[in-house]
Amino acid sequence: MIIIEEKDKFKKVSEILDKYEYKKSNLIAILQKTQAVYRYLPEEILIYIATTMNISPATVYGVATFYSQFSLNPKGKFEIKVCDGTACHVRGSEPVYNAIKNKVGLKDGKITTDDLRFSVETVSCLGACGLAPVVLINEKVYPQMTPEAISIIIDELKKEFPKEGE
């Protein structure tokens, strides 16, 4: 069971549904706006959306899992996106990516740290290829990254939301 402190969130989802007129063709937009409210797509909310739009929950689930933008798990405070587009790749995005994962302590396929501070993913081309390799952290672009440079940035971020003992 998920606890939502603010009933407002749920209310917002209902407003979103109203705005998009419960139309199937707006499902993706509805999910995007809902994710903007919750920062991920909780199962119960997806069922609610399916119910009110009168489409099968399996279909909503299918759409939500198709697009990489959607997440069915809570995301970290800092969403780090490492560009792995061609330009960034040939100029060394992989070491940067690995450095970040090491630094925040993510292994295997996991994308979000247990303390919900960091989510780390790769994306393709952010359109700043001239500055490759680039990293995007919560909408801010960091150009010409190196493993060393990103480590310093992450240390800064950690200070913003310190963990106990840090």
Partner: protein
Amino acid sequence: MSKKLTVDGREVSFTDERNLLEVIRKAGFDVPTLCYRSDLSIYGACRMCVVEIEGRGIQTSCTVPPEEGMKVTINTERTRRIRKVVIELLLKNHDRECTTCERSGSCDLQNLSNKLGVKQLRLGKREEFLPLDESNPSVVRDQNKCILCGACIRACKEIQGHGVLDFANRGSNTIVTPAFKKDLSQVDCIYCGQCVAHCPTAALRIKSDIDRTWKEIHNKDKVVVAQIAPAVRAAVAQKFNLDPQKTVQLIAAALRRIGFDKVFDTSFSADLTIMEEGTEFVTKFTEKKNLPLFTSCCPAWVRFAEQKYPQYLSHLSTCRSPQQMFGSVIKELLPKELGTTKENIVSVSIMPCTAKKAEAVRPEFQTNNIQDVDIVLTTQELIKMIEEAGIDFAHIEAEEFDSPFGLFSGAGVIFGASGGVAEAAVRTAYELITKKKLEKVTIKEARGINTLKEIILNIEGQEVKIAIVNTLIEAEKLIERLNKGEVYYDMVEVMACPGGCVGGAGQPQLRDCCSRSGIQDRADDLYEIDVALPIHKSHENEDIKKLYKEWLEKPNSHSAHKLLHTHYKNRKRINSEGLSFGKNSEHALMNIEICIGSCCYKNGSYKLMDKLNELIQKQNLQDKVNMTAVFCFENCSSGPNIKINGEFIEVKPENAEEIFNKYILAKVK
């Protein structure tokens, strides 16, 4: 107007075939397919059906419309390479344990792999195995054998209008799954099995009850009784290429050889159903109450109605299905006939149907934990048991059914085809109402595989309008029209499977999977049996008359009600935890649960919740009241539903404040 194209250099003519594939096949050539199903929409994903078309290169023949003058080649170096590589790629990911696989011998993948001469697998094998979904009585899902052809998804959507399954994820992580990877039993599956019937592999299969049956048969203390549904004989006859009327006697004989102690024909209890349902109809029709009367002998339809149409549950005939009527007759009356106890009887029914397995375990159909029907076997399982027992089916000697419930009318037999129930009911209802003899028993309009058929009868100057639908997508459309007041019917027969039970998912797969014409052939067989039988009306069945005389008094009597009728309940469509609002404080004095399931939502539960929220905030009760939104209390017909401290309270958005003051404010303050 006939047009021409050439296949492998030979001229072939065509008219309005839906795709090149059908043209090629009609002309006697074969092109392998995995994802194409003639009764479903075209998906074009498996790429097995590739051909080369002059000037257009490689094309999938299932997606291309035939055109005049096309020059088609089926086998070229490139098309053959594609097919072989596709099979190899599929097998790489496949739990390929053919020797122990349910589908071995009837599996499209296995078949094509053999046929195309795939002799080596160079790409490795599956390393990760996903757990089976065996959560329900009817269908097993085994993702390790799924080739993602999407046939199940299309079947569920296009035949039942239901969408239980869909794709999830993408690329090589793609799977087919119910919402949120839940088990089928956690979502709104109605167990019709159409997904299974359309699956080319064992990824979806019927849950087998063969071993349980053998165990009971081998138990010397048990009297094992079988009943065989009407539609079963048609499919078995088709499979073994035998005369259908003789087939049913061969089945009786085979069952005895397998070890069944008594063998009955469900057509008998179909007659019984007509007696009860016919009477129910006549009553309702005369009183003009709760019309139309919906038939209720298809458990998939019943479950569907319970989930989706609470407002129509009172329209469903209270009659049990023939399987369950026979079940209670066997459990209640047979012990006395045989001088044994209920506990010692094992009642097995042989059905064309997967939903019947789920029907048999409904709590309504058991007393003191004893089910009326203990085991349901499908036609496919019957054939397997015959094989396991080493019976040379076509050549054994025919035998008759057991008494006392051994007689049946043609009306009972045609139950297996869509329209059969309605036709049988009319034959009896006509005579009940008019007290006159019906001379012409055949009702042509009720027959055929069309998904919607309508009959308008004139009985003594009164018009009776009957609709017959098969497939639930058609049923849904009909209900929409009823809701809008666009149509009126006195009676509606609903069968979930295409063409009725003859097209049930428990039947052996047809060569072209679920071709409508193959299903029609089975239905025709049933109508032929009807013609050949001496009686055509349920109320003329002597065994039925005897049953009423000795045990049940008359149709719809008190004892008939106890034994032969049932009731329905609302069902939630998906199991999921609710949404909890507020702090969920430990000091809360009160728990409010509001349903936001589809029915309650439609009845304004969201507004109600908003309103209550507002009031709670206004009175500053956030700490004292916990509020949760849940998905369905299974009390849908009287929404919007709200529970306060576990009890239903009747409330509408309009009188929310009043209720709030009375039930919440007064108690908390």
